[in-house]
Amino acid sequence: MPLREFRNENNANNAGNANNASNEFILLRSKFRHFTISPFRYLFYMEKLLVPMICKVDKVIQETPDIRTYRLNFREEGLMENFTWLPGQFVEFSLLGSGECTFCIASSVTRKGYFDCSIKKAGVVTADIHTSLEEGDDVGIRGPFGNWFPLEDIKGKNVLFVGGGIGLAPLRSLIQYCIDNRGDYNDFTILYGARTSADMCYKDEIKEWQDNKTLNVVLTIDKPEETWTTNVGVVPKILEEVVKPEIENTKVITCGPPIMIKYTIQSLLKLGFADRDIITTLEMKMQCGLGKCGRCNIGSTYVCKDGPVFTNEQLKGLPDEF
């Protein structure tokens, strides 16, 4: 089946009964077949999707030396309540005057009243964000764009999250979402790796997860450290040696640096996972988020519209350009 149709069908199915927000999706989707933008945007700003909304930075959390989490809320009243998204979607985050960047929303829609973006200092704009954006400042937000993790597919299954570095951000959105709807899922494993213990983001939240008896959290760092008592080694190695996931009835969701994703997928396949059970989010340069600017083209796929969430099965059908 061509990817596009597959995607559309899949979206329509899996967004089904996730929550009220996605019911709205369904409603709109039946009306406008190809409209994959969230209802929020549609209802308020149908015409000019390139013009951002102003958000205020409520809180800045320094996660690691080069990662900061910005907690955002809309300036205009009443917008935050209507701003709905599903785990895996992204926003275009603009530091006005400096430029625009694409970030995944790192918190779940079930935590009301705010949304988070975790930003790693990497390029020109992100460096500007780190140096100049503080609490109380304004940023421009467009979105949410893209598709989301197949919530319906993972329902009633075991879920294994494999994250590396800043790649935990999109997973965090899903993890929070799943924790808040814990009844819908079976076993829960979170495997998270970072270069050093200092490079781990969301430390407080990881502690919460470790205290939660219903979750199984495995942490690892690349090189041994004195104060580190648990696993040491790269993520794929720990995955094979420590986690030893069940293959039956399990969905794996992975995100991290490209090289980590590559080897994780390899070892998952070695463990016997099927391609369709491995779900990942792709990183591509994007500018418009609307399927117009052509940057995120991989073959005939627009990552900003058909992605960024893909199963390994779909990735195999794409040219090797990501």
Binding site: S94, S98, D138, Q287, L290, K292, N297, S300, E321
Partner: protein
């Protein structure tokens, strides 16, 4: 619905253009530094509707400006205000004269990408408010290959009014759309019409035949011919061919091809800031640019020149076709003329496709 045809001659057409220029906001090819670009003109002497295709920029910038203001912001102590910037008054009716077939066709191709999912309203408004008067070329240029692509050049309905040079100095003005029909009826005064062929049936008949004849002569004059179906099919199968490395060797990555291509639609969004105010622009970009897909972390999915060329060729002849059912190329040959080392997209796709056979 059948559309009407009017017959006139050279001075008649000139007078018609003058009348249009006087009464409407009209864009026509105006010369500057030996190159024609579509500009707002008020007199026929300022422009040349018959400008040679090789030296004329496409009409794409009139619909997708080279640099469009997206929004404006003002930072004050109370917070930041963001407002839309209304680009050149979109609601004004415009006429384009002197467009070529390929120009008109390119808009049909672009419509597909602008109208899927999110509909670009600016583009849409510009499109609705413009009447395109397009002239059919008498002879193909060295780099033209529009007849070899997936559209019917003879019966193209992308333009609103078609101008065809017939035999014995006769010129046929043919409405192609309803918009064109109303425009012609309103603006073409019967005094400009010539000959006895004004009577309905007779004129349509002979005009039709005249135009067919003219088209046959035009189609004869093409140097470049290819079978687009074969090319599409072969290209879609040979993603990993080393041939791309060969055909891209000459490229100096100057990006001109994408900037002047009538169908390339990639853009970038950039901010400009002075003090507390700023503008956000949406301006052209090119996939041949090494920075095009470079991500902040330093990861670049297309680091090598041949990969970028592959993206360009495949996007035009495979990906766009897969997604929207059309080739992202209208065969105007403008990229070849503008290229400092004359790389021709025609040669590139044909060379790669024929390499596919040998393998």
């Amino acid at each position: 619905m059948s559309f009407s045809t009017f017959v006139t001659d050279k001075p008649g057409l000139q007078k018609f253009y003058e009348a249009v220029l006087a009464s409407h906001e009209t864009y026509a090819p105006a010369e500057k530094f030996g190159k024609f670009d579509f500009k707002l003109v008020s007199r026929i002497s300022e422009c040349d509707p018959e400008s040679p295709i090789a030296k004329t920029q496409s009409i794409k910038p009139l619909f997708f400006p080279r640099s469009a203001k997206v929004m404006k912001y003002v930072a004050t102590s109370a917070g930041t205000d963001v407002s839309e910037v209304d680009e050149d008054p979109l609601a004004v009716k415009r006429i384009i004269i002197g467009a070529k077939h390929c120009d008109a066709r390119s808009l049909q191709v672009l419509d597909k990408v602008y109208n899927w999912d999110y509909i670009d309203t600016d583009y849409q408004k510009r499109r609705e408010n413009t009447v395109i008067i397009s002239t059919r070329c008498d002879k193909a240029d060295t780099h033209c290959f529009c007849t070899s692509l997936d559209y019917d050049v003879e019966n193209l309905d992308a333009m609103d009014v078609l101008v065809v040079n017939g035999a014995e100095g006769k010129i046929y003005l043919r409405a192609r759309t309803e918009k064109g029909e109303t425009f012609l009826k309103e603006n073409f005064s019967q005094q400009l019409a010539v000959g006895s062929e004004q009577s309905e049936v007779g004129s349509r008949h002979s005009a039709e035949e005249e135009m067919k004849k003219q088209y046959a002569a035009f189609a004869e004059s093409f140097r470049l011919k290819m079978n687009y179906k074969e090319v599409n099919e072969r290209l879609s199968k040979i993603f990993d061919t080393p041939e791309f490395e060969k055909v891209s060797a000459n490229c100096v990555s100057c990006n001109t091809c994408a900037f002047i291509c009538p169908t390339c639609h990639c853009f970038k969004i950039s901010d400009e800031k002075v003090k507390d105010t700023g503008l956000r622009y949406k301006s052209y970009d090119s996939c041949n640019n090494g920075y095009f897909t470079l991500m902040a972390g330093g990861h670049n999915p297309r680091p090598a020149k041949y990969r970028r060329w592959r993206q360009r060729a495949m996007h035009k002849f495979v990906y766009y076709k897969e997604r929207f059912g059309e080739n992202l190329c209208v065969g105007c040959g403008k990229c070849t003329i503008a290229c400092p080392v004359n790389i021709s997209i025609f040669e590139v796709v044909n060379q790669v496709a024929s390499a596919g056979i040998q393998e």
